[in-house]
Amino acid sequence: MNRRPRIVQSAILAVFAVYALAPIYLVVLASMRSEADLFSGPLALPWPLDPTNFLRVWIEGGFSGFFVNSLIISSSVTVIILLTAPLAGFAFAKIRFAWREPLFALFLAGMVVPAPSVIVALYGNLQAFGLIDRQIGVILPQAAILMPFSVFMMRTVMQDIPDELIEASVMDGANPFLSFLAVAVPIARPGLMSLALIVFLFSWQEYLLPLVVLQTDALKPLTVGAANLQGRYGIDYGGIAAAGLIAFAPLVVLFLFMQRSFVRGLSAGAVK
């Protein structure tokens, strides 16, 4: 290729890299800027670096609690999904049974269902079962909403397991559940890892369910906490920036370390 188009192309790549990173860069700057330094302009490097914003939201703002709640909710959702979706994916991929196609279609349809539509009825049901203002009332519906995607992804993963291996373990007299555990799970491990990461990410990002289900501050996750902070102290930019950073930094770090797993999971089914 000749030189000129390549320079133009590199410029395009660079412009979009700035688009992606500039807002994050600004948040990092603002979060570490002291009040005295506030007027040197939003692009000036903050100096001296000031941890007050983080300490304020972490301790007084209750973000240490929100952080723990996000961890509890997202980990629980991830565990529930890991205990249920691989089994279902295995059944859809490896067992022939009546109603397989219609049942799978039922799961597929769930991938597009908008959460606000479900909530119109779900809210009353949660109330009736005493699950409002309890974290389990967020965890179970969230796992259910993420179930179709998870089952779909697990079916794709399980399809790649050679039938001969499963047959061999059945011949050896293993019961179905044992041969699932001993044969399918070890081979599917990279897929399970991807699933866990993506479910954790989606659950951490969730806002609507915890917003409507949880009323007590001590139960709320980071997304709800950050949104409330914005409403309450509309002009505390340092605090809001620090809160935002606390809410998304764990996800960015997780993604950067596990990039390959993430991408494999997200492109499951898309490329084929």
Binding site: T84, L87, V113, P114, S117, L122, P176, G244, A270
Partner: protein, 286 residues
């Protein structure tokens, strides 16, 4: 190999959870929509009354229009950007691909609520960075109130949506381009084809399936997104950024009109299911 009973046992936990918290509520919502409600209590069968009301509800039509605009904007901007960036990136070194792929994707990992907060602050008419930057480069005349202005609110929000989505498109397109047979490009090189010719005649046609998938994904998300609007404008100013989900939310939680909120939800469900059925049959037909 395994019996039907084993299959159902394996399916049971997933199906129970999905049934109890998604399928049953969806069924209930459909049922709700045929009743008249007062304060959360069904007062009588209403037939299609709730659906007839839709025709005269200006907010509903405005919201639907905004969702459609959002679909179009998403298909035009982040999808196209993703395709072009992926095509450029695919010819670079493995290291560049890994780094830039990660950078573009980072906004996707940020919760939409937080993205809304960050951008709401960038768009702030007084302290915001966008106006500050425009002033700094002598374009102060273009400075605006962005999210607070009826004319610019929806498009300003869409820039945020695109910010979180284009990197996803890059990553998906990249994976697809890397599975294209390299000999096609080599043959084109031997014939002296320019980059844009290879892009138009090899990359774009061979990625049609991926484009269809991303188009479906983008359209569904555009019909059902909520967080971004709720945390920034809550549908305002006026109804300038009202979308179907915010209309459902307000009708249900603020007005308390269960029947009408259910009817709105049923319409929303019907739209997303129709879009997916259409896209699915297109994908099947290939």
């Amino acid at each position: 190999m395994f019996t039907t009973r084993v299959a159902y046992l394996f399916l049971l936990p997933a199906l129970l959870l999905y049934g109890a918290f998604v399928l049953v509520p969806v069924g209930q919502v459909v049922a709700f929509s045929f009743f008249a409600w007062d304060n959360g209590v069904a007062t009588g069968f209403a037939g299609l009354d709730n659906f007839v009301r839709l025709a005269g509800d200006d907010v509903f039509w405005a919201a639907l229009g905004h969702n459609v605009i959002w679909v179009v904007l998403t298909l035009v901007f982040p999808l196209t950007a993703g395709l072009v960036l992926a095509a450029i990136l695919a010819e670079r070194s493995a290291r560049t691909i890994r780094w830039l792929g990660a950078i573009y994707f980072i906004p996707r990992t940020i919760p939409l609520v937080v993205a809304g907060i960050i951008w709401g602050w960038i768009y702030n008419p007084i302290f915001g960075l966008l106006n500050y930057a425009l002033e700094a480069v002598g374009l102060g005349g273009l400075a605006g109130a962005w999210l607070a202005d009826q004319d610019s609110a929806l498009i300003s929000l869409n820039v945020v949506g695109a910010w979180t989505f284009f990197g996803f498109c890059v990553v998906i397109y990249l994976a697809a381009i890397q599975s294209i047979d390299p000999s096609l490009y080599e043959a084109a090189d031997i014939d002296g084809a320019k980059w844009r010719h290879k892009f138009r005649h090899i990359t774009v046609p061979l990625l049609r399936g991926t484009t269809l998938f991303l188009g479906l994904y983008a359209s569904i998300e555009a019909m059902r997104f909520f967080d971004l609007v709720w945390v920034t404008t809550q549908g305002g100013p006026g109804y300038a950024t009202e979308v179907l989900t915010t209309h459902v939310y307000k009708t249900f939680f603020l007005v308390g009109d269960f029947g009408y909120a259910a009817a709105l939800s049923v319409v929303l469900l019907a739209i997303v299911l129709t879009i997916s059925a259409l896209a699915f049959s297109l994908l099947r037909a290939r």
